[in-house]
């Protein structure tokens, strides 16, 4: 060890220090982001009372800062997206991983990657121009800019994440499980349904969580297609009405507020809430992923 140390020249020491610093930067950045969100959020609680904050009316111009409709709006759109995306994503993952012949897999995977690559603002534009009028005409409602429209597009955007993580989960099930099932006389479908899926359930759950984590943070698409009306979504009927999410509120209003105003700080509080939600979702997913380290790489790409 001593010998190697003397062989190492001084510039290598500098480089290795730099590399170590880069390695630690990820932790430093998460902490820094968290601290800055807190720093800018705290004054909100001094300027706005808790009863105003946890109220049902968001109308900042007249100092109504009730965040409940925004939180419920985000939850509604996200849950709607999850309900649509899980079966679609899981079926696609099963197709890619278990059913498709090699050429089908080679054909499908790039398509899913292309979907992941389309900028959210382009999807939002497509949603405004094509999907929203379609929904308005089909359901015969006054506007196509609804929670449903947002949920459908978000489901689509969550698909690449869900498909790729779920496929990894299916892939991680040992081949011997399948062979044993087939040897016992099960059909390929019975093997998938009764053996592979149950064995991969943790991974599939992770896929769903990461998909939801992505969906709740989506901003541009949601802002462009959900109509942005801050009202309490209290019934299923609200799916066919405009809704306003936390992300869209920040994106739409932060550009126009005065720095240091109550509105400014409340928007940071909304951002902090989003940060905490995604932090918890991703931390939970990360802990599951650590058990199957192999998957960790794919989760991020």
């Amino acid at each position: 060890m001593k010998r190697i140390a003397t062989l190492t020249s001084w510039h290598e020491v500098v480089i290795e220090r730099a590399i170590q610093t880069a390695g630690l930067s990820a932790i430093a950045l998460v902490v820094l982001i968290f601290l800055f969100l807190i720093r800018e959020s705290v004054p909100a609680f001094q300027q706005v009372s808790l009863t105003t904050l946890f109220a049902t009316r968001w109308y900042p111009i007249e100092s109504y800062f009730g965040v409940l409709p925004l939180i419920l709006g985000s939850l509604m759109v996200t849950l709607g997206a999850a309900v649509v995306a899980l079966p679609l994503g899981l079926a696609t993952a099963i197709f890619i991983g278990e059913i498709a012949p090699r050429w089908g897999r080679e054909l499908l995977k790039p398509f899913v990657e292309v979907l992941a690559g389309i900028p959210s603002v382009v999807l939002g534009f497509f949603g405004m121009i094509v999907i929203a009028p379609l929904i308005r005409a089909t359901l015969n409602i006054p506007t196509g800019l609804t929670a449903l429209t947002g949920a459908l597009l978000l489901a689509w955007m969550a698909l690449p994440t869900i498909v790729s993580v779920a496929e990894d989960a299916l892939d991680a099930v040992p081949q011997t499980y399948r062979d044993a099932g087939l040897a016992l006389g099960l059909t390929r479908w019975q093997v998938i349904w009764k053996i592979v899926l149950p064995a991969a359930r943790t991974g599939i759950l992770t896929a769903l969580m990461l998909g939801v984590g992505r969906a709740i943070g989506e901003t541009m698409t949601v802002m462009m297609v959900t109509g942005n009306a801050a009202r309490m979504p209290l019934s299923l009927q609200s799916f066919f009405m405009p809704v306003r999410t936390m992300t869209a509120t920040i994106a739409a209003e932060m550009g126009e507020v005065a720095q240091g105003s109550a509105h400014y700080h409340v928007l940071f509080t909304v951002g902090l809430t989003l940060f905490l939600i995604t932090f918890i979702v991703n931390l939970t997913a990360a802990l599951v992923v650590f058990r199957q380290v192999k998957r960790a790489e794919r989760v991020l790409s």
Partner: protein, 283 residues
């Protein structure tokens, strides 16, 4: 009994194949639809002209240039830190609590909503460090957002280099850094480049992080310095499709097409590099 099981299987496979097709077809539809609708707007003047008449006429040149600058800026921020972190994780760090914490942090960075990055960039770079709404602030924000993608793909590429390469280099008297610089990095380079392009692709298409950190609604000139605002393609598309009443659809589709083509061509480049490198690899 046997027949019904077979039928069951055929039915299930049929449904799954149908769903997979239903997932893929709309992707094709979106890309083709925007390409067809947008193609009419694309000409030399559209790509190299400035917008005028309240953006209802003219081209997208300043937005295109702005996006190029921002992509370059993002690369300058994210590549050294990202590749450095990947080298640390793959070549230096063992499996300790610290590296686990780093991995958790990376996963969390990847999950933070883009608009929250925008808030962070506004708070730290624009206001606290007084960079103002500028290319510098925007590039730093986008760079941090891109880090997790670059770190994870670069680490994967580094780990794929066989251990025997390192052992041979060390046994020939190479130091740890010489081994990394002369042996491991060159072998992992195509994989790293692929990851970098994929990360930059995402950054180039993002709108939310640049909303409050750099993007200008309308700026009829090119940016002069790092501390200048700039227009950018994604934000420009957002502006002309939601904020400008009576905007001609032709220009909207044209802008969407240019943005999509820009981003997807990066995606294509990345896959081509990856494919080529897989074929050439001799280990």
């Amino acid at each position: 009994m046997k027949l019904s099981r077979q039928l069951q299987q055929q039915l299930a496979f049929g449904v799954i194949t149908l769903i997979a097709a239903l997932v893929v077809l709309p992707i094709l539809l979106i890309v083709v639809y925007i390409a067809v609708q947008g193609a009419g707007a694309i000409n030399w003047e559209f790509l190299t002209g400035f917008p005028h008449d309240g953006m209802k006429e003219g081209g997208i040149f300043p937005a295109l240039v702005g996006t190029l600058w921002l992509t370059l800026g993002t690369a300058l921020v994210a590549v050294p830190i990202g590749v450095g972190a990947a080298i640390y994780l793959s070549e230096y760090a063992g499996d300790t609590w610290l590296t686990r914490a780093i991995r958790v942090a990376i996963i969390n960075l990847a999950g933070i909503p883009s608009v929250v990055y925008g808030l962070f960039g506004l708070g730290l770079f624009v206001l606290f460090l007084r960079f103002g709404t500028s290319i510098l602030a925007g590039s730093l924000t986008l760079g941090i957002m891109t880090l997790p993608v670059i770190i994870s793909t670069a680490e994967e590429a580094l780990r794929a280099v066989p251990q025997s390469f390192r052992i041979v280099s060390i046994s020939l008297g190479g130091s740890r850094w010489q081994t990394i610089w002369r042996v491991v990095l060159p072998q992992a380079l195509p994989g790293i480049i692929t990851g970098v392009i994929l990360g930059l692709e995402r950054a180039a298409g993002e709108t939310a992080p640049i909303l409050f950190t750099v993007a200008a609604f309308f700026l009829p000139r090119l940016p002069h310095s790092l501390f200048d605002q700039t227009m950018a393609l994604p934000y420009h598309l957002f502006v002309i499709s939601t904020q400008v009443p009576g905007m001609p659809v032709r220009i909207q589709f044209g802008t969407a097409l240019v943005l999509m083509a820009f981003v997807l061509s990066m995606n294509l480049t990345a896959s081509l590099i990856r494919r080529r490198y897989r074929r050439q690899r001799f280990w």
